[in-house]
Symmetry: D2
Amino acid sequence: MIIIMKHGHTPEQREDVIARVKEEGLDVHLSVGEGTTIIGVIGMPILDSLKSAIESRDAVEQVFRVTKRYKLASREFHPESTVIDVDGVKIGGDEVVIMAGPCSVESEEQLMATAKAVSDGGAKVLRGGAFKPRTSPYEFRGMHEDGLKILAQARDEYGLKIITEVMTPADVELVGRYTDIFQIGARNCQNYQLLEEVGRTGKPAMLKRGMAVQYEEWLLLAEYIMAQGNPNVMLCERGVRGFETYTRNIFDLTAIPVVKHLSHLPIIADPSHGTGHWHLIPAMSLASVAAGADGLIVEVHNDPSHAMSDGAQSLKPERFNELVPQLQQIAAAVGRTLAPVEEAVAAD
Amino acid sequence: MIIIMKHGHTPEQREDVIARVKEEGLDVHLSVGEGTTIIGVIGMPILDSLKSAIESRDAVEQVFRVTKRYKLASREFHPESTVIDVDGVKIGGDEVVIMAGPCSVESEEQLMATAKAVSDGGAKVLRGGAFKPRTSPYEFRGMHEDGLKILAQARDEYGLKIITEVMTPADVELVGRYTDIFQIGARNCQNYQLLEEVGRTGKPAMLKRGMAVQYEEWLLLAEYIMAQGNPNVMLCERGVRGFETYTRNIFDLTAIPVVKHLSHLPIIADPSHGTGHWHLIPAMSLASVAAGADGLIVEVHNDPSHAMSDGAQSLKPERFNELVPQLQQIAAAVGRTLAPVEEAVAAD
Amino acid sequence: MIIIMKHGHTPEQREDVIARVKEEGLDVHLSVGEGTTIIGVIGMPILDSLKSAIESRDAVEQVFRVTKRYKLASREFHPESTVIDVDGVKIGGDEVVIMAGPCSVESEEQLMATAKAVSDGGAKVLRGGAFKPRTSPYEFRGMHEDGLKILAQARDEYGLKIITEVMTPADVELVGRYTDIFQIGARNCQNYQLLEEVGRTGKPAMLKRGMAVQYEEWLLLAEYIMAQGNPNVMLCERGVRGFETYTRNIFDLTAIPVVKHLSHLPIIADPSHGTGHWHLIPAMSLASVAAGADGLIVEVHNDPSHAMSDGAQSLKPERFNELVPQLQQIAAAVGRTLAPVEEAVAAD
Amino acid sequence: MIIIMKHGHTPEQREDVIARVKEEGLDVHLSVGEGTTIIGVIGMPILDSLKSAIESRDAVEQVFRVTKRYKLASREFHPESTVIDVDGVKIGGDEVVIMAGPCSVESEEQLMATAKAVSDGGAKVLRGGAFKPRTSPYEFRGMHEDGLKILAQARDEYGLKIITEVMTPADVELVGRYTDIFQIGARNCQNYQLLEEVGRTGKPAMLKRGMAVQYEEWLLLAEYIMAQGNPNVMLCERGVRGFETYTRNIFDLTAIPVVKHLSHLPIIADPSHGTGHWHLIPAMSLASVAAGADGLIVEVHNDPSHAMSDGAQSLKPERFNELVPQLQQIAAAVGRTLAPVEEAVAAD
């Protein structure tokens, strides 16, 4: 931590700041220049409480942090990339994994039809919400356990892994009985009790970035899960809120190389929420894989025009099927693989 | 809802859209102009699922909603302003109510000293967190029930009402035993189960705006609480996330007259989180009252330099005491009252 | 400037960075801690080019600037607040100055009627655009010199000072012949040649904040004008772009105390552009004065329903007249004055 | 345009709105529903002035525009994609064109070395600023005409086309004597006189997106150039301002498929400004081509550690050379070509 003192501060004020730092058992390194006095604070870790307490003083101009606040999620402390093994499907390795399916589980018929289609198309993981966070209390909120059961049925039938959202700590046990990967949604990414409860299960979790969450904050959220002993965390970029109204969000693809640089955790891209329009999904899926994403999560619905949520950003199965071979070519161009359609069809 | 068809759509595509709308039992009003075909959808309510489903169609250019999605929170449906009675302290009436206190309850000594100071200064409600949402898992997270007990002690001693945060549904019962007003924080404002659990208690709740939440979304969050039968919801503007780095947030004071226009619910301003710097709090407190806020919530700490959170944005008691008489003058200038210091001192 | 080296950098890489800094004639102060190596750079000024050049190196983790980049605009170098004398009207002193008038000058009749109304209401400065920046090339772009002539006529008739926008360096001489204050609009605030041309005139200038301009950048823009020898710069907060769609912009009132803290220049608030809706202007005008604004610039139109621009955010004269007495009370509450209506009427 | 009336408006208010619309020679289509009254306005074009004037009325709830405001730039009115021929280099066709070079022209030696490197690497167009917009007035602002002469020399020597920025209308003639493509920078994209002056030359122009400019506004800016008779406009996505501080901007790659959808104009991606860090440029260049960009503009400097601007976001020639073959593979994967290095070397 580096403390910049205000011009014209008194020696007493400076000593006062130094004394406050030393109360924490930390040492200082004073550098008095012409015009600028800098106090370097040595020792780890620097808590936010101390930083804010120092900033509260009249004589302090500014305080900078020079060490990262996250450790378990940091590539610096863990240089090798994490590969998460979801019961045989590896996320974070050479293969780019496709997760696909409807926004919500709406019925057995709808889910099984979509599951077959995405499995045929090359997806390894089936998405589908049984607990749905909705902007309005008057919308459909999911089939709850009945939806989870239908997901489990699709898993058995098509050999897909399941990813589904959990919204509150009390549901972690129930959802965990059915899902292979917990999804923590953008709106709940700062629901710390939920993060810790998922952390305690040890089961793979996909942590979506909140609409106004910075990279460092996002990695600290992953740290909440990991600190409970669960290293199986993957991140998911799904767009942040911005001033453009044509798209649902600003899909921040630069998050992909940034996360790869700062962290060892896998990162998944969600072009459906990132853009909000089905016609933009193919281009942004290709871009995501080119940028280095370890996986894609794409909304596919057998009948978007009757979807109970997110119809506008759902691909029809035939469009999804056209997209996968293009994704394979992009994956090859960046030295990775993506499940060949043939193999997937064979597995059906 | 108004549907704009794409140029060059076919009559079949148009009929198809109309048929989809009619499936929901809604009626349409077709207007075919030169160049623009518009389908007006008549009847209430229009769900987001239908809007999105219509948008999923190739032939549809754009869909606009023309009715509001919230009702219980809407001034249109409830023209009279709501006044919440917190055991004798009225929020939303003529008086501008001051809520003040530390970010976190840290000890009996700290809280009682601060409670005395803010009570002397004219505050009617004491704030203080016993459950603290923190960006990093390595920070202090509050004293939990011990903190709640200290808050209750301060209430007894100084005749203040209590506002404290609840972070997860499972804690609602516990927190509700001690607090007069539930605080739902910015990070948890889309934690729908929490909103509903607080809704079921019927107890006053202050709902902070999330960092990337639009006005309409905010009112829909209030609607979640109200739909459970709890009309005692006040909103709190505490800044939204923006591109400026000097301040912690962009403090969006325009939210005050906008909420007054769209809704009948009281609105509180939080200049501490809104700005992030103690030296900006006085000006922005005055501005908040001038803009029409029904109350202020201000961080005051007896020793900011040792605060365990938010020291940089906490006022010292003497600064708070200087501020209140100025607030009284602003309140008077906009035709409102604010507890006279004398009276507060007398109550001590 | 403070340079944080990456973990695991080599002594050669460190020496290399130091050598690069010394090339600029600057000295360094090395602090090698456990885990963190910090190079402090001593001496002034640190250019952005050097900062960016240092950041380009593999072994460098991060670079912080510790000195401000602006000087002429800085309160640190010029502690006393600047008061600009616009031919007798003082901006930045005890009095809060009201600037009012239509968005565009549309006709002699429109301008004279509005000028009379705002003069009667207590405004000291008349606003009105003769050169209009418009989002679409198909909109009305102002009356140009004819509009300037009408403004001059209103000045003569009502004793008002004139503020009007200049959009391009080639027009500075022409506009300067008529106006008392140059307005530099949000869209042109980074038009550096325009800033310098206005700087060379020495005439008062009001510099609006751009839609995505940070405080430091804004003060550097003022610096562009001041560096040409023109100290008569006032700033104008008019809202920044954000994610909320109900209002035209996010009106960042915290800019007022921040600018007062960092700079000695006067600051004006523009609630018309800040909010975009006439019904929000009164509350936000009051809030602006309470926050410490040195002036207000408000759109007033004698017939908003026929305005050629910004009708939706223009007050009618009667609403403006109702507002001024309230503003006077707020001004008094914060220890300032605002032209009494009586006096203004008398001057008429 | 669609006008939604407020609940409880009077028939007189409705007639008044209709009368105002008819004043403009436009016709209306009234739809009075239970609870909602909608006035559709028929006829083209609807100016913003009218929209705003209607919104100014008390009885009006909301006004929506249903027709696009740009025409010349619109794909609807011009379905075929525009291919710009820059003296033999085609932009917007099958080939993805690489533009590369330093941020600023600093010296003959620097530019010629970099020009050779990027030409060898496969670039077809050389970038380099002779007039530099800088945040601070104390930074290097370019070599002006001397810089333009060096660019012309590089063109002759390496057969590259030149792109360089023009900042003010008065310089258009001078810059136009040397450059093949005018660059209009993000800060100047709303400098309307500059747009029109460039429009009058008829010469190819690349229009960067401003930091807070929406897609529709961006296309209206292109419309300003095109309305002067210049169809040779390409757009350039270079990131928008957001809340993340790790990167310089939020690089909004979704702009690429959106622009392709709404417009027939070519679109270029600028990963250097989009990210601000050289180490993020390769991934985001690949992503840009995968998303459908018609070209890339990349900062390459022969010695970033001594660059007079943007060193931190400049690639070294060797890194650029490694990147191009990967770009070729991505281009092939999306059915496009990218100049083979061999051919470029041969041309040297």
